[in-house]
Amino acid sequence: MTGRVITITSGKGGVGKTTATANISAALAAMGHKVVCMDADIGLRNLDVVLGLENRIVYDLVDVVEGRCKVRQAMIRDKRLEELYLIPAAQTRDKNAVAPKDMVRICDELRQDFDYIVIDSPAGIERGFKNAIAPADEVVIITNPEVSAVRDADRIIGLVEAEQKGPAKLVVNRINTDMVERGDMLAVADVLELLAVELIGIVPDDTAVLVSTNKGAPIALEPKSKTGQAFRDIARRLTGEEVPFSTSNGNNGFLGRISKLMKSKEGRNA
């Protein structure tokens, strides 16, 4: 088995990387894949609480890097999904405790036992980012429909290309349909036109995300949630499935433009 390494990153902080990592990983595992997600945000550990696994941590990524434990020992199995594991970040160290070559080595080991290795990257363009993309087969950029997030996403897309890890794929998170329709929020089509990258997901702005984070239960596992569906769709696209972008995702009226941008000729009724 040779697993794929998917790194979730962004330029700006707080756009939804950790939320996306938790939900995409949970959705992939719920599809029956063997998944391990890794928190590469050293010093700002978060993926554990978003997944509700914070009480089970014994070892972390830095313990693996520094040889205090085996990769297996640092993996925490999810409460709900048999095939989902977490490797937490160290909370008391900084990003220099890990080097890109450590990430490559650890991921090469994990590739043998897992279908997908999903890495939650820290924000920014420094060491933590380099660590997170070094082992990546695929890079997913998260952005929000907002000027500074789009600008920073553009910078990251360029850096991913420069590191020969491109072309990156884009998730536009926190779309508010009402605001888009009023003309007070950039539409997904606008963001795509500006960034000129491939779209892999549109996630609505949804207060239920906060509720699920409060509980430590990924919204991707709630069958009726539209936001959960948006994350499940991203997971399916990452596995290579063609999943149409639905009109319920905050793109009414813009679908034609999106389809054109994606050069897709399937019939999609706007």
């Binding site: 000027v147 600008r151 553009d154 910078r155 009023r182 003309g183 007070d184 500006l194 000129a196 990258v197």
Partner: protein, 88 residues
């Protein structure tokens, strides 16, 4: 369908955001500060004007996005016949 305020000619903030981002991204990608464009425009005019009579006020110099790369486009309208007919 255009909204009421669009019909009244008021520009919505998303459209302003998009226009601003378009310019910002082109300059970010080329690492060219927006202020340099003016200098570039002036110098281009000087160089070309040494050989041809150009309509200085109609000169347009801008960065145009094509996918993820940019092209510097200059439109320099010529006024009259060349200064040096001997160079034909």
């Amino acid at each position: 369908m255009p909204s009421l305020s669009e019909l009244l000619g008021r520009k919505r903030s998303a459209s302003t955001a998009k226009d601003r981002l378009r310019v910002v991204l082109i300059h970010d990608r080329s690492a060219l500060p927006p202020g340099v464009m003016d200098a570039l425009r002036q110098e281009l005019i000087e160089v070309v004007a040494r050989h041809i009579d150009v309509d200085r006020h109609a000169v347009r110099v801008e960065m145009v996005q094509e996918g993820r790369s940019a092209t510097l486009q200059a439109e320099i309208p010529i006024k009259a016949a060349p200064k040096h007919p001997s160079s034909e």
